[in-house]
Structure formats: C-alpha cells, structure tokens
Symmetry: C2
Subunit: 304 residues, 2 copies
C-alpha cells in the first residue's frame, strides 16, 4: 500500500483541483483590490497574473494539509491565496525579457506582453507584498504566533534562501553543464521551497505535532522534485496547447534540467520513484490524506 | 516656537544621520546572508543595493520615533533595516531600463549596471522578502501582535495601496500635464507611505497612545511631502556629484513633479511651509523629539 494507489485516487484529483481553482479565484477576487484611480492598470495586471489560471497545486497543498488538522477552510483559502500570490509574482518576473523572456503563460500572453514591462515588474512586486497583507490579518488565524510563523516561513521560502536563490542559480547555470546534485539543489530552491511552505502552512495553522509536520515536509520535498521532473519532461514531450506555453524552450536556452542531465527514460523513472517515495511519508495519516496521495500520482502523469 | 528651530537643531542632524548610517550598515551586514554557493551573486547584489549608501532618512525616523517611547535600540535597528530593505528594493527596480532607466544611484553604478538586469530584478525581490524575515523574528519584538502589526502596515505601505501604486502612477503620468492634487497623491503613495510607516513603526513597537501615534503620522505626512519637493528642487538645482545621480532627468523624461506644476519659487516656499507644519505635530512630545524637529528643517535645506 506504499504506492500512489492508482487508478481510484487519480480519479479524485482532477475534480479536487477544479474545486480548488474555483475557490482560489473567488478568494483572490475578494482579497485583491478593485482597479480604480490612476493605478488601475497595476491592479488589473495583478489580477490578470493571479486570477483565472494555473494548476493551483500550491493552493491545493495548503488546503489539503490544513484539512488533516481540521483547520477552517476559509482561513486555509486565505493562506492558499497568499501562496498563489507569491507563485504568480515569481512567474511574472521570470517571464520578463531580462529573465526567461516568455511571451505565453497559462495559454495567455504573459503579463509584460499583455501590459508592459514596467507594469509586470510592479505587479509582481505588489503581489509579493499582498501575500503578507493577507497572512498578517487576524482572519487568517486568530493566534498571532501562528501568523508570525506563517510569514517567517513564507519570507524564507520566497527569498534569498529559497525561491529567488533558485531562480538566480537557474539563470547562472544556463548554457553550462550542471550535474544532478546542482539541478536538485536548484529545483529544491526554485520550486521546492514554496511547495514545502504550502504543505507546512496547513501544519502550522493546525498546530500539528512535530512528527506530522515533519512527515508533510518530507512529502513536499519528494513531491516537489517529482513535479519538477515531470515539468522538464513536458517541455520535451508535452503539447504546447495543453501546457499553455511554448515548449522546447529549456533545451533552446540551454537550461539545466533533469532531462538534460539524466535523459528522458531515467528522468521518467526518477519522477516515478520520487512520487512513490513522497506517498510513503504520509503513512502517519489516515484516509484524509488520500487526496495528497493522489496528488503525488497526478504530479507525474499530468499532461499540462 | 512652532518652527523647525534652526540653526541649533540643524547642527544636530548631520551627526545623527551619520550615526544612523553606521548603525544601519552594521545591522544590515549582520542580518543579510553571506555570499556563498551558486547564488552568491544574488547576495552580493542585495548587499550592494542596501549597504553603504543612502541618507537613511527612513531608518532615522524609525529610530527616533521609537526612542520617544523607550523602545530598545537594537530592536529599532532591526525594524529600520527592514524599512531600508524595502526602500532599497524599490530603488533597484525603479532604476531598471523598463522603469526610470537610471545608470547611477548614490554615486555608484545602479544595480543592473553593476550586475545585470536579471540580478537586479531578483535582488529587489529578495530584499522585499528579507524585510519580512527580519520583522517576523522575535528579536524585533517579543509581542507577536506587535510583529503582525508591523508586517501588516509595512505590506500595506509597500504594495498596491502604497509605494508600488505611487510608482505606477508616476510612470503613467509621464509626459502628461498633472495637477498638484495628482502629484500630491502620487508622492504620498510613492515616498510618503514608507516614510509614514517608518514613523509609525516606532509608535507600534512602543505601544504609543493613539494621540501620539496620530501625531507621528501627521508629522510623517508633511515631512514626506516636504522631502519630496526638496528632491524635485534638487533635480533642477542640485549638484550631480553631491546628490550622487544624474540630475535634470525629471524634466527630460517629462516626470510630473512639484517644480513642474508650481515653478521653483512656489515649490520652495511650499516645502518650507510643509516642514514647519510637520514640526507642529510634534508639540505633544518633549525635547526627545528635537532630532525629529531637526529632520524637518534638514529635509528642505539639504544639498543631497
């Protein structure tokens, strides 16, 4: 029973992700300001960047990890919205011409193509600030120690010890030969840190016991890497229309990817091994964790 | 006695700003990570952006407003460092080619000239996150309610209801005729919001009474505008070498400034009126507020 348990659980995940996406769009619509005044374009760019698209994996992880500890769903939706603000801002900045220079994202023009570069830089900046506005409010959790811990962990996951460091390394090894150790560290920072925070957030809000929090972090680490390898594979083998962005760009730009370092076959089996390993961390939880188990299977079998 | 009380107090301000600058450089050196690993360049860019330059007005305001309520100086230095991280990140992003396209800042090449655009975008992003890392820690204040309030107010001052909105408006009115009302709102957001937070932070940390907090906010609002008008005047009349950046750019870019809307003479007298008005809010405080009073006089008489 230590496997991702297809196919029953896989059938659960798509509707659950769909529900998460609706909940997040509603929540973000409420939490973001309305476009008004001379800065209306900024708010429009923020909304465009974060509402109505994306897989919402990180939001899903917040909701499902918090559910294990009976945390209020509205509070979890707020924390999930904060994580999606940070994720969306990172994509907006990564897509900029000075960074990965991507014209399409989630099947639509990227923010700097739809608006302009200045608006994209500023919308990203404001989305990062907004994540902390959301988390700092008592509606997210009555206990200020919990709110402080959420913000401390998010800031750490997002900044120079996490996501941004990963993006910097990603740019710096472009066009160079990078070994699997380097790529693993890069990805643990670039995508893993925020995915880990998403799982940890539920545990923090639910005041989970240390073993349970540890289990979720172990799950997140393996899931994050499995998810990233699957992303690298999609860039080689996926369908542009389903994925919603131009593919094959990793190789064209000389990106350091798992596929480049391991080859397609070994990358695929490595992703599978990690997804199975991820699920094993969840043995401590009962069937309430089944959707998290299903997410691990989904992460390596998705088409987009 | 309702005036900025030159010249005695003016003589106090320069050494006090010098002390603030040393304290901040030390504090930021301790609080920022050391450059290491493949992301070393990111850390170097962050340190370059925030250590060893700048007037440190915002830090000074945190330190002096907190001092009114007997707040521990080390704790205030942390909050001041957080504010300077946000201020520095905003300058790094504002200087980018897609924004104000400035090659020089504080007498040195701007971050994207010294490093590159990607490093500048990412260093700015990481500095913003770092501000919250600093504020979230118990060393900043033992009371988690206070830490949450600091973070809520900073996020609000920095984001789409504050600084970033101001920058967006600044870009959007470029080359257009803007009236004083528009310019005032623009500047209250772009520079005023963070200056207000700097004064409020000391009051929050010292659990100041509402009238005292209100007084500091009134002071900050007037000081912020006075300071900005003085900046606009320096762009027209200042010395490039003393100011540390290329001047005359506001007019060249068609920026909406107080000088453009009011003319040099009216702008100068308006700054003076605001500086005097700022000081009147401080009547509620004893001589401990003299350095804040001196800052108001300095803000409109400085050469850089």
């Amino acid at each position: 029973m230590n496997q991702p348990r297809p196919p029953g659980l896989r059938a659960l995940i798509e509707p659950a992700l769909g529900e998460t996406a609706s909940l997040l769009d509603q929540t973000l619509d409420t939490l973001l300001p309305e476009p008004a005044g001379l800065e209306a374009r900024l708010i429009e760019a923020m909304r465009y960047a974060v509402i109505g698209g994306g897989k919402r994996l990180r939001a899903f992880l917040v909701l499902q990890s918090g559910r294990l500890f009976g945390v209020d769903r509205r509070a979890l939706a707020r924390a999930a919205a904060a994580v999606e603000c940070v994720h969306a801002y990172s994509l907006v900045h990564d897509d900029l011409p000075a960074m990965d220079d991507d014209d399409m994202r989630r099947g639509r023009p990227s923010v700097h193509r739809k608006f302009d570069e200045a608006a994209a830089i500023l919308a990203g900046d404001a989305l990062q600030a907004h994540a902390f506005t959301i988390l700092a409010a008592p509606e997210t959790h009555a206990d200020p120690y919990v709110r402080c811990e959420l913000m401390a962990r998010l800031a750490n996951a997002a900044g120079a010890s996490g996501m941004v460091a990963g993006q910097m390394i990603d740019m710096s090894v472009e066009g160079k030969a990078a070994d699997v150790t380097t790529i693993t560290r890069l990805q643990r920072l670039k995508t893993g840190a925020l995915i880990s925070f998403a799982c940890e957030a539920g545990a923090i809000m639910g005041k989970a016991s240390p073993p349970m929090r540890h289990a979720l972090l172990g799950f997140a680490q393996d899931l994050g890497l499995a998810f990233q390898i699957a992303d690298d594979l999609l860039d080689v083998e996926g369908d542009d229309v389903i994925v919603g962005k131009k593919l094959g760009k990793d190789e064209a730009r000389g990106k350091a990817t798992f596929v480049k370092a391991l080859g397609v076959e070994r990358a695929r089996s490595q992703a599978q091994v990690l997804a199975e390993q991820a699920v094993r961390h969840l043995d401590i939880f009962d069937e309430k964790a089944d959707l998290l188990r299903a997410a691990a299977a989904w992460s390596v079998s998705r088409k987009g």
